[in-house]
Symmetry: C2
Subunit: 292 residues, 2 copies
């Protein structure tokens, strides 16, 4: 469905939304000896010797463990354990998890991403934003309900636009000071209330690089699990290649040719820049741009 | 940028993100006699006799009123007042606001939509989801910070996929029991953590109507302010026109031809169904489909 299948997409689990609120069905799935539980260490996945996600049986977890239903595969439930204690750890990318991602297959990456986004969401929604009351998990981990005012809360996803500006056959890529040396990627930013995807692309390009978009074309999307973004990848025609770089956002931004992008994506040591990793949608977007 | 400019898009205010954290700049904008404040009654907009949004000067509001910076127009700040008291009222669409929307011009609708989404977000985030502490507004209304654990919270947008399935030249439209008699529209649902836009479209079509998508094409997007969705409108080719309707979601779903859709969009009294209102992205999507 997409020009280049982005990382964290293509999961094969049936989310079985219709079962989530059915406590008897969830209990039966949990008792099924085929049921599997994702093995994590903190938020990091454990791998089998073959490099796949490691799973254990439900009998390996505490009998009263809170389980999130990730989905079904051939009728067999796949869960992840939800630990309800306060989570003090930073929830962002660790070097360890980034290393694991370069090993996992696409389907496993999608399952891990969904699990991680859900676990993180629970940690950030232990209390009701409306009244401050404690919330409790329900719907097999796909919601929380306030124990005081009964407001329901559902797992959230934040839309982010990510885009290459295009002018006279060249694409704009930028870098943040915190990135590995030489790494350049597509510009990106959170979409705000009251704007379309196309308006957010135009706003971000102007804010970060001072270029005015005249046409925005959607390319592909990706769920990004750090913690839970929907990456909406676009190509934007811009009026001019004159840049005004917002140095609080970007350390640098450069115009690159299709050949320069191809060399970077191929990992060529003489490439003008270091490409984003293959599991990032920016990689898919740049690859698409070289063939468009 | 889009095949048909959807309602609530096309706002002309410069969001001036770079000023939001600059308290001195915000204070100066507030003292500028040209500054304007959106007039609301509850969450409903007040209109001028000409049918535009009504605005007043900053001197018409309490001196210590909390103001959200909606944006700038020709250097002139546009604000809305944030009332921090608990909001017990239902925050959904009222018949009154729906009536107003059919009068407002596109730019005013976009300004009102952004303001409304922000106000609603503040009401739903008065406490920190992580620790339960009270949060306080900051960044000119574009964030809240927990007074206990200092976690920052930002205005949220929920991505929703909305789509027509297409098969053999006909489009699938459905209706919910609560809608006005005869009204049919595109199917829709919230995107979940761990899925792409295209995967969410395929999942929702299968869950609600039992049809399997083979190809998903993005058409346009819209910010929907009840309370804060990003509507991602798509057309999906499906394998078969045999339906299996989830009656907990839909009362009915029917296949309609391009001529039938054209008649509905034109408001023809003999049309097979009543089209969604012109400010809904489903209207834009169906209009696009008749010309695709």
């Amino acid at each position: 469905m997409t020009p280049h299948q982005p990382g964290f997409s293509g999961g094969m689990l049936d989310r079985a939304d219709h079962l989530r609120a059915d406590e008897a069905a969830i209990a039966a799935l949990r008792q099924d000896p085929r049921a599997r539980v994702l093995m994590l260490e903190g938020f990091d996945p454990l791998l089998t010797p073959q490099g796949g996600l490691a799973w254990c049986g439900v009998d390996a977890v505490e009998p009263d463990a809170s389980l999130i239903l990730l989905g079904l595969l051939q009728g067999c439930a796949h869960f992840v354990v939800l630990h309800e204690q306060p989570n003090e750890a930073p929830l962002f990318r660790s070097p360890r998890v980034m290393g694991v991602l370069s090993v996992l297959g696409p389907d496993d990456m999608a399952i891990y991403g969904a699990a991680r986004s859900l676990l993180d969401w629970h940690g950030r929604h232990r209390f009701c934003g409306r009244c401050g009351g404690a919330t409790q998990v329900h719907k097999a981990g796909w919601g929380r309900r306030c124990s005081v005012c009964a407001t329901e809360h559902f797992p959230r996803v934040d839309p982010v636009v990510i885009m290459v500006a295009e002018h006279a056959g060249r694409a704009l890529v930028g870098r943040q000071a915190s990135w590995p040396p030489g790494r350049y990627s597509a510009l990106a930013g959170f979409l705000e209330p009251g704007e379309t995807m196309e308006e957010a692309v135009a706003r971000e390009l102007f804010e970060e690089a001072g270029v005015r978009a005249t046409r925005v074309r959607y390319v592909t999307s990706q769920p990004w699990p750090f913690p839970a973004q929907l990456m909406l990848a676009c190509v934007a025609q811009v009026q001019s290649d004159v840049l005004c770089i917002a140095t609080n956002e970007l350390e640098d931004a450069i115009w690159v040719s299709r050949d320069e992008v191809r060399a970077a994506l191929a990992g060529d040591k003489n490439a003008r820049f270091l490409a984003p990793p293959v599991y990032a949608v920016a990689h898919s977007l740049l690859k698409h741009w070289t063939t468009a």
